[in-house]
């Protein structure tokens, strides 16, 4: 079991060995996954990660060392390694860290039922029921149902006196259905995550959740791919979240800006999106993944990245904040203790405006309604702004009405062009997170939240066959 006292001892040791500044991180994460595949229990796994990471700073050099062994010898080796690497790094270049407030706090997600303490049989029975019911539905040839239960406890101590503990519990269920229609097979997947205990699993009707996915997969298998070209699009909450995270969020991360690898570098104060767009990164928000403090122990503030179309700033860690002459925004995050931090988003979303969702469709003679259910995600090249997304089964819009379903929808564009083309933003803000995935960068995966309201964009490239 990790605790603040252990971290204090390590901090004391690394400072005694010569570090001028230091950050000590302890982590204990348990992830439990139950997977039923096409009527058979495919796996029941529980993985546990416990470890210690130490960042030492000496004369402008930074060294990071980690160990999964918490015995005295291993810890001593790790502190020694962090010191020696910091000395090597200090000879190669100098780096400094923006000051951060000294904070003592403990953040804990409240829950009623500890998901890891629930009888394994009950959990298996739930997943089995949802999966086997799905397999009974007409035209469903394969289905994978997954229960994910996670607890992640992190302790961060700094030489400036910060001592924070963050304890997050999350639960969720994911379902993928594969439907066949003639020679065409198509899949649709979706997942739902709650931050809190197993009580959230107990109160949701998961059979109804899976049924909707199954029915969409069956309809998608009978749908065509859209004609390729440029479309007017109404974009739903989930796709807006994906789009902002990939297309804009990564380019607003301070490390990319400092490295000259972001298309947003040097554009603070410039108009980068339509006046209807305000983009925020918030650490703790309804529906999102809670990040009250980052892995440098800095409070994750509500950061306004774009205010009514104008770029206001970047997401920063302590070193990138120093470099960019900004305040640290609390966005230094690491997958686990075997990695030092990178600048990452937390919960990145667009703020709602006044339009009703229905109003966004008005006046569109031919367009597309981009839907997130079944979306696989996206990718961006932040240095040039090109992005691409794989969207879920979507609908063609004809004369303001939602028309036929289309499958295999992929959209592409340029960050700065797409957000400038937004001409309406609805009032239905929705943010979601997931215990089944997250955001990947530099070989590290972290949990994030994203979302926004429905929006309308005048121009987006849609690929098709």
């Amino acid at each position: 079991m990790i605790n603040v006292e252990t971290a204090r001892q390590v901090l004391e040791e690394v400072l005694k060995k010569g570090a001028e500044q230091a950050v000590v991180r302890l982590q204990e994460r348990v992830y439990e996954a139950i997977v039923y595949d096409t009527g058979v229990l495919r796996s029941y796994t529980v993985g546990k990660v416990v470890g210690l990471g130490i960042r030492a700073m000496i004369r402008g050099g930074t060294g990071y060392a980690y160990t999964s062994s918490l015995d005295r010898d291993s810890v001593s080796r790790a502190t020694g390694k962090a010191i020696s690497l910091a000395r090597v790094a200090g000879e190669l270049g100098k780096k400094s860290f923006a000051p951060a407030p000294s904070i003592r706090d403990r953040f804990r997600v409240e829950f009623r039922v500890d998901p890891h303490a629930v009888d394994p049989k009950l959990k298996v029975d739930l997943v089995k029921e949802v999966n086997t019911n799905s397999m009974k539905r007409e035209n469903i040839v394969s289905a994978v149902t997954r229960l994910g239960l996670e607890r992640d406890r992190r302790v961060v101590l700094t030489s400036e006196g910060t001592e924070v503990e963050v304890d997050v519990v999350g639960v969720g269920l994911a379902h993928m259905a594969v439907a066949r229609y003639g020679a065409v097979i198509e899949r649709v997947s979706d997942r739902e995550t709650y931050i809190g205990g197993y009580e959230h699993i107990e109160k949701r009707d998961w059979n109804a959740f899976a049924k909707e996915i199954d029915e969409l997969a069956v309809r998608a298998s009978q749908a065509k791919t859209p004609p390729p070209g440029t479309y007017v699009a109404v974009v739903d909450n989930e796709v807006v979240g994906l789009l902002l995270h990939e297309a804009f969020g990564h380019a607003s991360e301070g490390d990319g800006v400092v490295a000259g690898a972001s298309i947003l570098k040097g554009r603070v104060g410039e108009k980068v999106a339509s006046e209807f767009i305000t983009i925020v990164d918030a650490g703790v928000i309804e529906g999102g993944y809670p990040v009250p403090y980052d892995d440098e122990g800095v409070p994750k503030k509500r950061t306004v990245v774009v205010d009514r179309g104008v770029l206001k700033g970047y997401l920063t860690s302590r070193d990138t904040a120093q470099e960019l002459n900004l305040e640290p925004t609390g966005n230094a995050r690491a997958q686990d203790v075997s990695f030092d931090t990178l600048v990452r988003q937390t919960n990145y979303y667009a703020e709602p405006r006044d339009w009703k969702v229905d109003e966004l469709f008005e006046g569109i003679t031919y367009g597309i309604y981009l839907r997130g259910r079944g979306a696989m995600g996206g990718q961006v090249d932040p240095s040039v702004g090109t992005y691409t997304f794989s969207i879920g089964p979507s609908y063609i819009i004809r004369n303001g009405e939602i028309s036929e379903l289309v499958r295999g929808v992929v959209v592409s564009g340029n960050i700065l062009e797409t957000l400038k083309e937004v001409d309406a933003v609805a009032n239905d803000l929705r943010i979601t997170t997931s215990v089944f995935g997250g955001c990947g960068k530099g070989g590290q995966m972290v949990r994030v939240g994203d979302g926004g309201p429905h929006i309308r964009t005048r121009k987006i490239v849609v690929g098709g066959d």
Binding site: G47, Y64, T225, V384, V461
Partner: protein, 448 residues
């Protein structure tokens, strides 16, 4: 140490009366160096030991594990696994863990220079790469360099067989180059990933990345339409991995998620394509003496001159069909349930060079990089990738740079035409692919 973890875990499982037990342990030790325009940003180092325990009681199976600190920590993992296995329903398809653990002979998987992790040597490489792009072309600069070295010790044992142990090394060097001119920006990255330094050529790597970043400055979209396409080897790797690899893995086939189900013996792609899975190929990161459940790795034809020859199996999927594992068990993390996956994927070469393929293009695009190709759909076979670096080609000549264009189509239609061609020159890409360049006569691009 890791053999001790394996032996201790197996013994405890036997003592607790389980039907079968398998313990897999892996220790990774390594360094990371991160450099940006500001110079060497940070250096980190560490070691971690992961363990995965698979326990079977009757036909009830579970996998537990995680990071552990000491040999004795495996006890708690085994005890939890036994407790959970007892509560599970039976898997009617369960037959057995592998009965014999053995190793194939493999070469070039350890490099002493990587194992010794000489920090000074790798810092020099990082500094060279950081400074070199702007020397080659003043419009370019290196925006980031990441170097990661690892020494990997793996051990596996089960109640049927003595434990196996193997050591390998791994080097990952990735470099990103950015170019700017007259308000236009472009970027390109390259990666070296291999168990040894044998084929590592930093000058060639940075020169190529710089050349492509610079020549794709001022990219634009082409009109939506049908074009010829030339994919360089790493772009082909990006297409094969999400679409063909899952489709040839036996679990996808058995569960009805592969478009290749019931097609063994049929022509599924052009006869100019031959695809081999080879876990024994020297010097690749998928090269191992044994797979992730202790079965020897092998070399086998997956697609021979366009004809599907067979699928990739782990022990579980193989025994369902009454056959032997092909040595393709893979764990995404050490404590996950093994599934079939490629070891290394080799596509046989054809005729001519990349430039020969480009010379014969009448109206098309040569693609140097894409994003989003991993979002393609292996179940339906729908390919989607967005070009980030490409050159429009007319009558064999590169005319102007292209980006932001979506490549779409069903992979089995795209790879079917008889006039598909592959180059004789091949490259190792992303550590586990050895591939030629590929010419596609007809594909839809969504652009303007």
């Amino acid at each position: 140490m890791i053999e001790n973890i394996v032996e201790r875990g197996v013994r405890l499982g036997e003592k607790l009366g389980v039907s079968e037990i398998e313990v897999y342990a892996i220790k990774r030790t390594g360094i990371n160096i991160v450099g940006t325009v500001r110079g060497i940003e940070r250096i980190s180092a560490g070691e971690r030991i992961d363990v995965g325990v698979r326990v079977v009681i009757g036909k009830k199976a579970t996998v537990q594990g995680g990071l552990i600190s000491r040999v004795e920590d495996v006890d708690a993992v085994v005890e939890t696994a036994v407790k959970i296995a007892n509560t599970l329903p039976e898997d009617p398809q369960w037959i057995s863990l592998p009965r014999t653990l053995r190793m194939s002979q493999v070469e070039e998987i350890v490099d002493p220079r990587i194992r010794e992790s000489d920090i000074g040597y790798f810092i020099d490489i990082a500094r060279f790469l950081l400074g070199r792009a702007s020397e080659i072309d003043k419009r370019a600069f290196t925006s980031s360099v990441n170097i990661h070295t690892a020494t990997i010790e793996r051990a596996i044992g089960n109640n049927y067989s003595e434990a196996l142990r193997e050591e390998s090394t791994e080097l990952v060097v990735s470099v990103s180059v950015k170019a700017t001119e007259a308000g236009e920006e472009s970027g390109y990255y390259d990666v070296y990933l291999a168990p040894t330094l044998a084929r590592f050529k930093p000058e060639e790597m940075i020169s190529k990345a710089t050349e492509i970043a610079v020549k794709t400055l001022g990219s634009k979209r082409v009109d939506t339409g049908v074009y010829e396409l030339v994919l360089i080897p790493r772009v082909l790797a990006g297409v094969l991995q999400p679409l063909i690899v899952p489709a040839v893995c036996a679990d996808s086939v058995q569960k009805g998620r592969s478009p290749l189900k019931n097609k063994v013996g049929s022509q599924v792609v052009s006869e100019n394509l031959t695809i081999i899975d080879d876990g024994t190929h020297p010097g690749l990161v998928g090269t191992r003496g044994f797979d992730d459940e202790g079965v020897p790795t092998t070399r086998k034809y997956v697609i021979d001159r366009g004809v599907l020859k067979g699928f990739l199996y782990d022990t579980y999927t193989a025994l369902i069909e009454g056959r032997n594992s092909t040595g393709n068990a893979f764990r995404s993390v050490p404590y996950s349930t093994p599934v079939p996956w490629i070891s290394n994927l080799i596509v046989e070469g054809g005729h001519g060079s990349l430039s020969d393929l480009v010379k014969d293009v009448r109206r098309g695009v040569v693609v140097y990089s894409t994003i989003g190709e991993w979002l393609s759909n292996p179940v339906s076979g729908l390919l989607n990738a967005t070009i980030t670096n490409g050159m429009y080609v007319e009558n064999g000549e590169e005319k102007f740079p292209v980006k932001g264009v979506v490549i779409s189509g069903n992979i089995y239609d795209v790879l079917k035409p008889v006039d598909i061609r592959v180059s004789s020159e091949r490259e190792s890409c992303f550590g586990r692919f050895v591939l030629p360049a590929l010419y596609l006569p007809k594909i839809t691009l969504a652009g303007k």
